[in-house]
């Protein structure tokens, strides 16, 4: 009896040891260790991609985000969008999109250890530069290091300024969509600092302008004996309104 128990114990121990070894070997293999000849025991390097995987993810053009889409996300203050500017410090300080962080191109490989949002797929990281190519190259490096959910601004800041901030007015024969896009771009440009021109008013200013016009167009009634009191009242009201508008105008110009 005792010998039988020993045998079974030996058997179970052997099986457990085998399972452990198999799991260990499997871990090492699926680790996708990208540097050849190096052995990593479930370490950070595990998260790096293999060339085949990287090629497959780079084939789709999903990683590009258009200028209009990005502008609408910035205006909506979407908290899951993080803008990364890969130009150098001087260009970044001169001008950058609101809320962007600066990671110069030379310092991209060091990003791995810094912030946790690079690894998480909950945040959408949008890389942008003056044009598309450098941002795309940064994307490949970051993707190889294992960062998830990274996008590239298609066209860069050049396209941003040439299409969004200074849109061309569509001709009368263009479709309604073109006019909608033009309107959207004008109002988005207003958010980013471009002043709205006279041809396109936001709602508030339009209301004030209309109110002013009513007062200017109102017909002047003749002063006859019976009318005197009413007309005096109207003149007083008109004066009051004009004073109010002047006060509002003063307030606006801060």
């Amino acid at each position: 009896m005792v010998i039988m128990q020993k045998r079974y114990m030996f058997l179970t121990f052997l099986i457990l040891a085998m399972i452990f070894v198999i799991a260990f070997v499997a871990e090492r293999n699926n680790c996708d260790s990208s540097i050849s000849g190096q052995f990593h025991f479930k370490s950070k390097k595990c998260k790096e991609l293999s060339p085949a995987k990287l090629l497959v993810t780079s084939l789709s053009t999903d990683r590009f985000i258009g200028v209009d889409e990005l502008a609408s996300k910035i205006i909506a203050e979407d908290p899951t969008y993080i803008l990364i500017d890969i130009r150098d410090k001087y260009q970044f300080e001169k001008y950058s999109l609101p809320g962007a962080i600066n990671v110069p191109f030379n310092k991209i490989p060091e990003v791995n250890d810094k912030e946790p949002f690079y690894k998480s797929s909950a945040y959408v990281k949008v890389i942008y530069s003056n044009n598309t190519l450098l941002a795309d190259q940064a994307w490949i490096i970051l993707r190889r290091m294992g960062c998830k959910n990274i996008k590239v601004l298609d066209g860069g800041l050049n396209s941003f300024f040439l299409t969004l901030m200074t849109p061309t007015k569509p001709k009368q024969t263009d479709s309604g969509d073109a006019f909608d896009l033009y309107r959207f771009r004008k109002s988005a440009g207003g958010y980013f600092g471009m002043p709205n021109p006279q041809e396109f008013f936001p709602a508030q200013q339009l209301a004030i302008y209309k109110a002013k016009r009513k007062i200017d167009i109102a017909p002047r009634t003749k002063m006859t004996d019976g009318n005197r009191a009413k007309v005096k009242k109207k003149v007083k009201l008109v004066k009051k309104k004009e004073n109010k508008i002047e006060e509002e105008e003063e307030d606006e110009g801060c």
């Binding site: 052997l14 070997v25 090629l55 003056n130 598309t132 190519l133 004066k239």
Partner: protein, 241 residues
């Protein structure tokens, strides 16, 4: 006891067989044929290096000369390749670029001392295969700085005779901060002028109201005074009959 010993031995033998089979299955390496050989730092330096890019004008010149030391590689799909490609270009679809035969082809080019120039529909399309090949360790490849669409509109000969274009894509097209400043200055000027005009209009209307009021007061005073004078005049006329 003997049979139990035998059965025990059989069980252990079977287990060992399973164990060996399991290890064999797990270590079967179908995917990771080619690993990366360079760290991201080196990749960065490679990317910024000027010698890893070539302008389309130089490419056109080499194509016109039939330069033997250079091979064009079209990474688009075969339909686009058949529509039109650079002369003597080889078609390797970008998804197949890590196949064994293609990698051997690149190595053979290296042995022959030739340089491979990758191009696609635009720079960004060829960028990913270029970078991946570089990271695998293939050195003799170069990226063309624009796409095949550059040659679709312009004849190959015409392109080869163009002056060197600055394809430097990383420069800003315009000074962004200056643009916003200037637009604001312009708008402030315009809005100030318009405000002046409006204020003047309102002022003039106020003045008109005042003037009208004054006129009416004067008119009433005149009316109050004038009836007496008219009656006096009528009496004078009656006297002379």
């Amino acid at each position: 006891m003997g049979t139990s010993n035998k059965s025990f031995a059989i069980v252990i033998a079977l287990l060992l067989l399973l164990f060996v089979a399991a290890i064999f299955y797990v270590t079967k390496d179908t995917r990771n044929i080619v690993p990366f050989t360079s760290e991201p730092d080196k990749v960065l330096k490679d990317v910024l290096d000027e010698y890893n890019k070539i302008s389309p004008i130089k490419v056109a010149k080499q194509a016109m000369k039939n330069d033997p030391s250079v091979v064009f590689i079209d990474i688009r799909n075969q339909y686009k390749y058949l529509k039109g490609h650079l002369p003597n270009a080889k078609n390797i679809y970008k998804a197949d670029i890590l196949n064994k035969e293609n990698i051997n082809y690149f190595h053979s080019l290296e042995e022959l001392g030739k340089q491979a120039i990758l191009y696609g529909d635009d720079v960004v399309e060829a960028n990913a295969p270029f970078m991946i090949l570089k990271q695998i360790g293939i050195e003799n490849i170069v990226l063309m700085e624009s796409g095949y669409s550059f040659f679709e509109n312009n004849n190959l000969k015409a392109v080869s005779e163009m002056g060197e274009l600055e394809m430097g894509s990383e420069t800003a097209a315009l000074d962004f901060a200056e643009l916003i400043k200037n637009e604001k200055i312009k708008y402030d000027k315009i809005s100030k002028e318009e405000e002046k005009v409006k204020i003047n209009a309102i002022k003039s209307k106020k003045n008109n109201l005042k003037i009208n009021k004054k006129k009416e007061v004067i008119f009433k005073r005149k009316q109050a005074q004038s009836p007496i004078k008219e009656i006096e005049k009528e009496e004078d006329d009656d006297e002379g009959c």
